[in-house]
C-alpha cells in the first residue's frame, strides 16, 4: 500500500457478477466451467471463480471490488470458458460507467444491470446479469481507517462535488441530496 500518500485518481466500484443466460460455444450450449473477467482498465481487473455445473446458464454471485480511474468510460465484462484446449472467450459486453454514475440516482445506489453478450464475430450470445455500486468515499485525512475497505488514506484530495451528508449507509437510507452532476472528465 505505498499509494497511501499520493492523490487518489480513481474511485472504487463493486461489481457483483450474478449470472448469465443462454451461452453457446461453437453453436452448442456451453456445458460447464465458465467464469467472468471484469475489467475497468488493463491494470484494474478481477475474475470470478468458475461455475462447474451451471451449463449454459451459470451463476456465480461473486462480488469483485475494483479501482476505476476517473477517465474510465466502460467496464468490460468477459465471459470465458475453461476448455481442454485452453480458455476461450464466449462473449463480451460493455458496462458504460454512465449506467452507474451520472443518471438521476444517488451515487451509491445499487444498480441491477443486464447486458447482451456478443461473441468474437459480433453475434449475439446470451445475456449477463450483474449488480454494481460505486463505493462512497469516506473522507479521511492521514492513515487509512479500518472502515475504508480500499485502504487508501488521502481522500481529502478527492475532487468530487459535494453530494450532501452521507448518512447511515448501513440502514440503506440515503441522506443528502444528489446534484446529478456527471462526474467524469
Amino acid at each position: 500500500m505505498d499509494k497511501q500518500h499520493c492523490h487518489k485518481a480513481s474511485r472504487t466500484v463493486e461489481v457483483t457478477v450474478l449470472s448469465a443466460e443462454n451461452l453457446r460455444l461453437d453453436r452448442k450450449s456451453v456445458k460447464k466451467n465458465t467464469y467472468v473477467v471484469v475489467r475497468a482498465d488493463p491494470l484494474n481487473s478481477g475474475s470470478t471463480r468458475a461455475d462447474f455445473e451451471g451449463g449454459s446458464s451459470p451463476s456465480w454471485n461473486e462480488k469483485l471490488t475494483l479501482d476505476m480511474p476517473f477517465q474510465t468510460r466502460f467496464i468490460s465484462l468477459e465471459v470465458k470458458c475453461r476448455t481442454g484446449s485452453g480458455d476461450r472467450v464466449i462473449g463480451t459486453a460493455s458496462l458504460p460507467v454512465s449506467d452507474i454514475l451520472g443518471d438521476y440516482t444517488p451515487e451509491s445506489h445499487l444498480h441491477f444491470l443486464s447486458y447482451r453478450l456478443r461473441d468474437a464475430r459480433g453475434e449475439r450470445n446470451g445475456i449477463i446479469n450483474v449488480s454494481a455500486r460505486v463505493k462512497m468515499q469516506v473522507e479521511s485525512v492521514g492513515p487509512p481507517t479500518t472502515k475504508n475497505s480500499v485502504g487508501y488514506g488521502c481522500s481529502s484530495s478527492w475532487q468530487q462535488p459535494t453530494l450532501g451528508v452521507p448518512v447511515g449507509h448501513r440502514k440503506n437510507y440515503y441522506g443528502g441530496v444528489v446534484t446529478g452532476v456527471p462526474v467524469w472528465i
Binding site: D103, S114, Y115, V178
Partner: protein, 576 residues
Amino acid sequence: MGLCHSGVRGGKQAIGGTSQQNPNSNNNAAHNDAVDFFFKSNGQEALFTQVELSLSASNLLDRDITSKSDPMVVLFAKKRDGKLEEVGRTEVILNNLNPTWIQKITIAYQFEMVQPLVFQIYDVDTSYHNKPVKSLKLEDQDFLGEASCVLSEIVTRHNRTLTIQLQNRNGHGILRKLGALTVHAEETIASRNAVEITLRCYQLANKDLFSLSDPFLRISRMVEGGGYVPICKTEVVNNNLNPVWRPLCLSMQQFGSKENPLVIECFDFNSSGNHVLIGKLQKSVADLETLHREKNGANFVIQTSHGHEKVLKGQLFVDLFLEKQQYSFLDYVSSGFDLNFMVAVDFTASNGNPRNPDSLHYIDPSGRLNSYQQAIMEVGQVIQFYDSDRRFPAWGFGGKTPAGTISHCFNLNGSASFEVEGVEGIMAAYASALHNISLSGPTLFGPVINTAAQIAGQSLSSNNSKYFVLLIITDGVITDMQETKDALVRASDLPLSILIVGVGGADFTQMEILDADNGQRLQSSTGRMATRDIVQFVPMREVNSGQISVVQALLEELPGQFLTYFRSRDIKPHAC
C-alpha cells in the same frame, strides 16, 4: 398480460416459486399468470393473503334493562352491486359495553380491489345465548351500531389498527352516541414463512431420441376434494440426466403446511408442448427437509401400463433446504412504504375532437365516465390508500399547449406544479385540460417515462421506501418504440412500475412487446437489457368483456413487482 407463455424460451422459464438469485426473471412472489389462470378456471381462488381481524369496541349503547348489552360483531363485505355478503362473526360477550372479542374474523386481502367492509354490532338476547353464534338470526337481535371502512385503510396504518365511530344503519345520522369500534389486522403467520430449496436429480431416464432429456420439475399440492393443483415449476435444463435447478422459494401460502403432501413430477420438455413424464414422487415439505438432512435420495415412480407403480432408477436430492421469513407486501406497506401514483393521458388527435360524442375524450353530461376517466378512477381508487400524501403527478402528452407548442409531457393542471390532490384532482385537471389543450401528436412515451423515472431516481437520495406507479392511458400505438424501450430499460433498475391501458379500437399487438410476459427481455439501443419486467399492458376492451376489471388485470402483478424490487436489494420493512 399474457395468460400463457408463448415461445419456447418463455415456456422454459421457471414459474411459481421465486428464484431469489434472479431479480430479473419474470417470476412474482405473489401471483403468476399461468398458475392463476389454472386456479380460476378450476373455480378456485388464487393464493392471496389471509388477514385476521381482531375487534374491540368502546362505549356501546346499553340496550338491556337489568344488565348491560351482550354484543357480537358481524362483518360484511360490500359487493360491487352494493349488496352485503357476510364474512364472519365474533362470539357473544356477556354484559359488557367495552368488549374485546377473542374470535378473530379472517378475510382475504386482495391488493387489486377496493374492499369495502361493513361491521355491524348486535346485542344478542339472553334467550339465544347458548345457541351457536352462526345460527343466530340478525333480525331477532337488537342493532347497536354500524361502522364502514375499506380493508386497505386498515392494513396501511402504522400499527394496522383503525378506530371508527359507530353510526346508525346505512349511516343515517347519529341520533345519539353509539360508541366506537376498533379493528386490528394481522396477517396469518403462514403468509410469512417460506422455504428455499435446491433440487437435483440423478440418473433420470432418457426420453429424447437423438440427445438427452431436457428435464424440469412441476410441484403440485393437494387440495380439498383430492385434486392436485400446480404451485410452481422449475426452469428447463437442457440435455442433462443429472440436472441441478436454480433454488426455488416456496411460501407457506403455496404449500399449505409442512405436512401437506406435495406431488413432484419430472417431465422431459418438448417444444411441441407434449412433455413426457419421466417420473413422479410424493413428498411433503417436511419429507424434503428429512431428505436434505440425511442426504438421501428419493426414487421416482411411474405408472406402468398394467397399473402397477414401478420404482425407477432416477432419484431426487435436496441439496439446500433453508427455512426463512419473507416480509410480505403488507409488512412493507404498514411500516411506512408508500406507493406513489402518477398518471399520463394521451392527447393525440386520433382520440377525436372532445366535443364529438364519438371521441374517446368526450365528457358525457349524464355522468357516464369515458374510458380515460374510468381507468383513472379505478386504478386511482385502489392505489390512493397506499399513497400517504395523496398528491399525484399528472401529465398529458401529444397535445398542443395554450402557448402553441406541442408537448410530450405537460402538466395536466396547466400550472407550474405537476401534482394534483387526490383522484378528484386528477379528474378535474383532466376535464380542464380538454378545454385548454388541442389534440395533436405523435404518440410518444419516451418523455413521460423518462420524467417519471427521474422522479423515482431522485427520490432515492432522500427516501428508500417509495415505490412509484405510472399509469399511461393511450388510444394508439407509439411511434417511438426504440426510445420507449431505452427509457424502460433504464427505468427497470428503479422503484417504478408502469401500467398501460389501451383504450379505443386500435390494434395493440405492438404494445404487447413492451409487456415482456412472453419471456423476451427488452433491449435498449446500447445493448443493455431490462433487469425487471416493469410494464403491464391491458387493452380495455378485452377486459370489459370478461369477469375481471381493468384494474384487477393491471394491478395483480404490482405487489410482486414491488416485492421483487425491495427483496433483491435486501431492503426490509422499517422496524416498528
